[in-house]
Amino acid sequence: MAKHKYPKDFTKADINACNVMTDRVKKLKAEWENATPQVYVDDTLLFTASWKETEGVPIDIRWAKAFEKRLLEGPVIIRENELVVGQLTKFTRGQGTLCAMKPREILRMCETGRFDRKSSDTAASHITDEDLAALKADATYWAQVMPQDNYVNDAIRYELGEEHFDLMFDHGMVFEGRAVRERIDRGLFQNWGAFGGGNCMPTQPAIWNGLNYIIALAQDELKRMDEQGYKVQGISSQAHRKYCLLKSVIISCQAVIKYAERHAEEALRQAAACKDPKRKAELETIAEICRNVPANPPRSFQEVVQSFRFLHLAAWKESSERPEVGVGRIDQIFYPYYIEDIKSGKITRQDAAEMMGALWLKLRETENLVTVAREHRAAPGTLLPDCTLGGRNEVGADLINEVSWLVLETMRQTMLSEPAIYIRYHDDIDEEFMVHALECNIDFGGGNPAFLNDTLGTARYLDRGVPITDACNWNASGCLGYHLDCAEHQGGFYSLNHAKIFELTLNNGFDQRTGKQLGLKTGDPNNFKSVDEILAAFELQLDRFCDVLRKHYFIWWSVEIDHSPMSGLRAAMLYEDCIPAGATSREGGARYPVCRASWIGDRGITDIADSLAAIQHLVFDTKKVSMAKLLNAIHTNWASDEALRQMCLAAPKYGNDEDMPDELFARTLKLTQRVMQKRPDPFTGEKPMLFKGAAAGHVTQGASVAALPNGRQAGKALNDAASSAMPSMDINGPTALINSATRYSDYAFEVCGYTHNMKFSKQMLNSTEKVKKVTSLVKTYCDRGGWHVQFNIHSAEELKEAQKSPADYKNLLVRVGGYSAYFVDLPPELQDEIVLRTMHDAV
């Protein structure tokens, strides 16, 4: 690790001395913590009203108009002593929704009166009788307007047959997805559907140049088209589509500017009535700022923070049924303004720290009404606003700066579960910064920040033809995804349950659960003579499911695309390409083809490897057990033979740096990678990206998998993330686990979201010397080609106590997958699994 190269006229102590939690911030945090989550209905009512007013208007413009109405007629609130303004709802903890997206789901909630489908009871939403009546009426309207069934289903049924839906049973039988048989609630747009994998976020060009600049670009493009023609091949709907998209860009951007101006008016109104001269001056400053940003380039640190807040809020509000509105490379975006204000004496570091704290609270306020039952949610407890720090630029310079330090300090002091922070780690990173990061992690506890391999992240894009100037400009996004800053990824995402496919392989394609032959007949498992033969059969099964899933994906997205326009605002955030192209990223506006490649997810690789290792050890090597006996035990979920389950658990396991299981792990990885990337993306012909995302999917998908030879019981969670060992089974310590995970490191090159969870006790990090040893661990992990490593730092006892008395542990943060969450808010199964993750402790 290197000594710092960036201007560093501050010390770690200076940063630690900043008080983020000033009285003002403390008070705002307390207000948020003590607020009851409330269902916020005005958004959906305004949306519906606008939709009724714009009957017959093209859909892009109609969407923009509905967005505009929500910003112009929705609440404008400046809370007492607020520095950073822009509140999503009229409540301190409001959960908005749009009935147009999922009318029947919301109607069901209204009818049962249960708005408790957040990830835990403590986060359950409340609603007043009046709002409930309004929400019900609104949902009823949309339920009547929208067709009952899903035309996507019809198209899939036509091509793949009714039995295809068996594969999506229970949200993740073989394919991850919703229970299609239950009839997806058909809304105006799918709440996930074809929107998956986006990372709409306030980008640097939008913030630095201001929305007026984007409006001018769109106007210029319209003018150019007017003068020179649309230049499409003959008469095409594309021309009109482009026209409408550009119009919607202008409407959306102007709406955000007006929304900011409404805040200026409110600030002045409050200032006029304010007796306290200090607060009066603050309000006047806020008014001045809101008149300038986000319309124009920011003129100060406070303005860049405020501009960011407005754009983040707008992006969220505009597409609130889709989470993953990122925070992005905030240190890079803020730094020029920060350092200028510090140098000129306009602000102090302390002023900036307080402002960051205020911003963090604003980001945490973002919530939405969750209609999916908590046990079926892929990422409970988060909306995935990811923040990325540092990284090397195109000439290899480390981009960590003073704002990066402040972001970590803000995280440490505010103790909020979001945003998740990612540090782009490389050999030239400042060692002192790494120590700071880990010390913040220790105080925070729950795996924040995480570390991504900077070299690998950039190399993946270079490999796919992106030039270095853009390849190095990437950020973490969503749940374990990552994206180029210049172009949102808009390939689709779909996921396979590999553990289930392995289970089917051990049953000659037959599924006990449904009593149906879901897979191919790849041979009587009793006749397998080696793990090679099992893997060969598994490959045939997997290949067949990949083929089917690709068809499913192709039909789904082809049909869905016409019903899910992307907003003008989203395009505006990425104007450099989308505006001249007149198309969103998904429709071809993205700069590089890689941004349109689909992502294929998978789960259960370690479960498969450990199962194969148990079979190798018990059946083929020591011959302690016959295959028939093992299969029988699995079919009965071990009811007949607990001792055999224990033998399976005690068999060699991945994660201990032992050749046999680790080679099986590597072989399984390699095999699955080969099969999943065999077929190009059906739309673009690009090689699909592989992905290990959606943090808690291993719990939902595990529910449909029978007992496995690794000793796992039926229905229990699969192994988390990508490279974690079976809980409590990695007994040779962290270096052994890392060696196992990085044994076949070219896999990480292909697979995004290849996460490595580690859990340490505080004892392991109780001195600077030991913290430095962990930085060496991160370095070695990356040297060996690892991609993503994160540390949960607490004791198992602490977690168990928290399960017993959740009220006393409201603030206990843990790392789940691509995000941190409040432990007590997680579903019980996920809590258990986190407790079980092997703790690396001093001996």
Binding site: P734, T780, H840
Partner: protein, 305 residues
């Protein structure tokens, strides 16, 4: 060199307290001392010992069935118990145990075997300035193995550290010193009589060996366990500090190790009593105070929690 072997009870990776950087520590079994506070009771005897860890035991009675000495019993209330009077540590119960809860503490390992394990973390050592430590038990009880392992480490460019009580024939120490980069050397008590009382033997040989080590060129870290009512007085620490200072530049650090009771569980599974079960670990304030005594002698002193 012959492929030496030694009786080990653990090869632990990612150890943070046994020398600089990230290390692997090889624990050798067998110790001539009988320190009351010993935190590694499984290291005391040279011969392997059978233990039962209750964690995932399913009380399947396999161990009871296979034991030729009828030394194992299982009951719902107490779980698996081993009658130590009958048990001869033959280990026949270990392999059939489906849950791996019946275990053998102690295994003869060759230098090749041990090196194959510790070599796996070479990159971690290089990235952190770490290496390989041999501890115990008393590693100088098996000097040929230590010498061979350290020589192998040096061939591979790995730093070596010997964690010793110093109680061994001086020739054993002299044997390993040429391949030893760092010595972690205990000083428990300076008074010979008290040493006999608590450690089971006087300290003259230990102090002589320390003198020898200081003249060898190896870096020495003095390790002082801080034991309530045994050596935690100012006077005792003062005399240890004087001694450490007298050794001159080879001494790089003094580590104060507050007494702890984390070894308790291991006494239980070995069916042995822990003599200092009731003793209270020294307070953080007291540790800080003792540290100043060493600092007054211009020694770099660290408290290792």
């Amino acid at each position: 060199m012959a492929n030496e072997s030694a009786m080990t009870f653990n090869v632990l990776r990612y150890t943070l307290d046994d020398g600089p950087g990230i290390r692997s520590t090889v624990f050798l079994k067998g110790c001539p001392l009988t320190c009351l506070w010993c935190a590694n009771p499984e290291s005391q005897k040279y011969a392997p010992e059978v233990v039962h860890r209750d964690v995932s035991c399913i009380k399947c009675r396999t161990c009871v069935t296979v034991c030729p000495e009828k030394a194992v019993a299982v009951s719902e209330e107490t779980g698996v118990t081993i009658d130590r009077a009958k048990c001869n540590d033959c280990g026949l119960c270990v392999d059939p145990c489906p849950t791996n809860t019946m275990q053998m503490m102690g295994r003869e390992m060759t230098v090749d075997e041990v090196f194959a394990t510790v070599e796996k973390d070479k990159l971690y050592y290089n990235n952190s300035g770490g290496g390989v430590t041999v501890s115990g038990g008393e590693p100088l009880g098996q000097p040929d193995f230590v010498l061979a392992l350290f020589a192998r480490c040096h061939e591979a460019g790995l730093n070596t550290c010997l964690d010793t009580s110093g109680f061994a024939p001086t020739e054993n120490l002299l044997k390993v010193l040429p391949e030893t980069d760092i010595l972690y050397f205990d000083i428990k008590l300076m008074d010979d009589e008290k040493h006999k009382q608590y450690v089971g033997t006087g300290n003259r040989l230990i102090q002589h060996n320390l003198e020898v080590a200081a003249g060898s060129g190896a870096e020495i870290v003095i390790r002082v366990p801080v034991l309530p009512d045994i050596n935690d007085s100012d006077a005792e620490m003062e005399s240890i500090a004087v001694r450490a200072k007298s050794l001159g530049t080879p001494v790089s650090y003094v580590h104060l190790l507050p007494f702890h009771r984390f070894g308790k569980g291991k006494y239980t599974i070995l069916d042995r009593a822990f003599a200092m079960e009731a003793a209270t670990p020294p307070s953080a304030e007291h540790m800080e105070h003792l540290k100043t005594i060493f600092e007054k002698h211009c020694l770099v002193c660290e408290i290792k929690n």
